[in-house]
């Protein structure tokens, strides 16, 4: 018999208090704002769902949402395959492992605003190594004026900053595969591709799920780096949801619409993560159910 002591619940009180202060109470404040309008002086008026209705028709919001989704899609499409490829190419033993791991970890250690500053300077046409180099090579590049250049700069910067995370996660998945799998594959005459397709990729699935979720959430909420590099420009070309939100809340002090937008933003992230998670986990469970079903048949 296990002795049960319900007093143990008291042990989680500090955590509850902390989470309440750090997350629940601010969130409820935001929910509260989203149904009201304010004209300064701390005066608030109830407006019902007006801000949410406005948001669904707002072109500004739709455009920012599309830009953010496009950015996340590009980042995932590049970083995940690239990360897997680099992890596969990394050495498994010897001195090289430490060197590679340290090199990989370096970009992750740089603070976000510093990353932004580095790339802002690096890409400048007048003094930046990259910008000046490209211009000297006769390539018409200017991220402050050209939309495509601004996007390329931001995507390349994010790839530089975050691919390492995918690499490290994949690498940890790869080194956890027992040697016997590779030996069995050699005996079965498997090609390099088959080894990847039937051993490495399935064994990396769990860490890949984490990588996809993390990279989606981070890229979907990206703020500091584009703010420092492009400031959302040229025009509104790189104004992502986060930048738009801050402009609305802090720049224009439209607390109501900003609160409504925050909530929608939050729900979108939750929804997309849930979809990713369900799709990737379902793949696993489909196998389980078919075993259960036919196993008894």
């Amino acid at each position: 018999m296990k002795t049960k002591n319900n007093k143990a619940w008291f042990l989680i009180l500090p955590v509850l208090a902390l989470v309440a202060i750090s997350a629940v109470i601010p969130l409820i404040t935001v929910v509260n704002y989203s149904f009201q309008d304010s004209f300064g002086n701390n005066e608030f008026f109830w407006v019902g769902t007006e801000w949410f209705q406005e948001l669904t028709q707002s072109e500004r919001f739709h455009n920012a949402l599309q830009r953010t989704l496009l950015f996340s899609a590009l980042v995932l499409l590049i970083e995940i395959p690239l990360g897997i490829a680099i992890a596969l190419a990394m050495p498994r033993k010897g001195f090289g492992v430490t060197v590679c791991l340290v090199l990989m970890a370096l970009p992750l250690l740089v603070p976000w605003n510093v990353v932004g500053t580095i790339w802002q300077v690096f890409s400048r046409v007048d003094i930046g190594l990259l910008g000046y180099g490209l211009a000297s090579a006769g390539i018409d590049y200017n991220y402050t004026q050209d939309v495509a250049d601004a996007w390329i700069t931001l995507v390349v910067m994010d790839v530089w900053h975050w691919t390492s995370l995918v690499v490290l996660l994949c690498y940890s998945g790869l080194v956890a595969i027992p040697e016997a799998y590779y030996q069995a594959a050699r005996i079965d005459g498997a090609s390099r591709w088959s080894v990847f397709r039937y051993i490495q990729l399935p064994k990396m699935k769990r860490v890949l799920l984490i990588a996809v979720l993390l990279r989606f959430m981070d890229s979907f909420m990206i703020y500091t780096e584009p703010f420092v590099v492009t400031g959302g420009g040229p025009g509104n070309a790189t104004t992502f949801l986060s930048i738009d939100l801050v402009q609305m809340a802090v720049g224009q002090f439209d607390l109501g619409p900003a609160a409504a937008m925050s909530l929608v933003y939050f729900l979108i992230i939750l929804l997309v993560c849930w979809v990713f998670y369900t799709v990737m986990i379902n793949y696993d469970q489909a196998g389980q159910e078919s075993t259960g079903g036919r196993g008894h048949g």
Binding site: P178, A180, Y181, Q183, A184, R186, I187, D188, G189, A190, S191, S194, Y198, I199, P202, K203, G287, Q288, S290, T291, R294, G295, G297
Partner: protein, 355 residues
């Protein structure tokens, strides 16, 4: 199927460093269709030897021959062997049938042939009803059957190698799988080599057991040979529960002296240099109230079927197996069956003097 010949195989894992040899100069010929077991404690080099035969490892020295053809530089795939590992290896995302078809597809066999072979092997392993289940969802013993099945689907496989394949299998299923392995061996006459540190597994599976110790083969024999006439004190100690009693004696003609007590031998041995030891199985030692060598009882262990009596004779331990319920004398003496006594010089079995 193939006859496997090893010529002066030696292996060092780190040839640059001064690392010890994992294998020292092994030369063996293993007959076609035989069932061999490589038995030895952990770290004795048995897995190294197996990987050298399968081609996963290239020996530092020596040659491997299959049917008199040198295959030392060939890959496992080219050697066409099958290997079952300690932990079941299955391709998680594939079904049971797809797992079995995998090696055949990789070798580019036509689909009709693949399907026929796969259904044959599924029937042989009694997995037909699970053919379309995802392999990752099976139990450990079914997974291990798939690992074996991937070797058996290839009709032309030259040898099937096992690297402690029953380690992760539940005890009650071990018997079942071992029986099935024997059955498959009888039916298909593959050359099978089975690595294990479990003597029961080795003795029940194999026609010939190869006992390894510190990178060398110390004895090859049938299970009765290993039991009755261990060629090395290590083999005697390693095989049997408890292992053979080995104790130091002074040898003079027909007599062995332990302290000032005499043990009569039925054969005479030359006086030889180096430490001399007497070996006898606990099964062949009897307790007597007066006759034989005086001993002191240290402990009595009841192992269920019989008692193991641990005694000391002149500071040397001798185990005796006694029937359950038999009386243990007050002042015990040990009686050794003379024909079961083995004499060892420098740990190796000594031959009696021919008169």
């Amino acid at each position: 199927m193939a006859t496997i010949e090893l010529q002066n195989i030696a292996h060092q894992y780190d040839p640059q460093g001064d690392s010890a040899y994992a294998l020292n100069n092994i030369s063996e010929v293993w007959q076609d269709c035989g069932a061999y077991a490589l038995l030895g404690p952990s770290g004795c080099g048995k897995t190294t030897l197996l990987n050298i035969i399968s081609g996963l490892l290239r020996p530092s020295e020596g040659r491997v021959l299959f049917d008199s053809v040198d295959v030392t530089s060939l890959s496992p795939e080219q050697r066409n062997i099958a290997q079952v590992f300690q932990f079941p290896v299955v391709y998680d995302t594939l079904t049971v049938a797809e797992n079995l078809a995998f090696p055949l597809k990789n070798r580019g066999l036509p689909k009709s042939q693949v399907d026929r072979r796969v259904s044959e092997v599924l029937a042989m392993l009694e997995l037909t009803h699970r053919a379309h289940n995802r392999a990752s969802r099976l139990s450990a013993d079914d997974k291990q059957k798939i690992s074996l099945g991937r070797g058996l689907v290839r009709t032309d496989v030259r040898a099937v190698l096992f690297d402690e394949p029953l380690t992760v299998i539940d005890p009650h299923l071990k018997w079942h799988l071992r029986t099935e392995l024997k059955k498959i061996h009888r039916e298909f006459q593959h050359t099978m080599i089975y690595v294990t540190h479990d003597q029961t597994e080795a003795l029940t599976f194999a026609d010939k057991v190869i006992v390894m110790y510190e990178g060398s083969v110390v004895q090859i024999g049938t299970p009765p040979e290993l039991f009755e006439k261990p060629r090395h004190t290590f083999v005697g100690r390693f095989i049997g529960t408890p292992g053979m009693n080995v104790f130091e004696v002074n040898l003079q003609g027909h007599s062995a002296w332990i302290g000032n007590q005499e043990i009569k031998l039925d054969r005479s041995y030359e006086l030889i240099d180096g430490p001399v030891e007497l070996g006898i199985r606990p099964e062949y030692v009897a307790l007597s109230p007066s006759e034989g060598v005086a001993a002191r009882i240290v402990a009595v262990e009841d192992v269920g079927r019989h008692l193991v009596v641990r005694t000391q004779v002149e500071d040397q331990t001798v185990n005796v197996i006694v029937k359950e319920g038999s009386a243990i004398p007050e002042s015990p003496h040990l009686v050794f069956s003379p024909d079961k006594l083995n004499v060892y010089q420098n740990s190796c079995l000594a031959e009696p003097k021919v008169l």
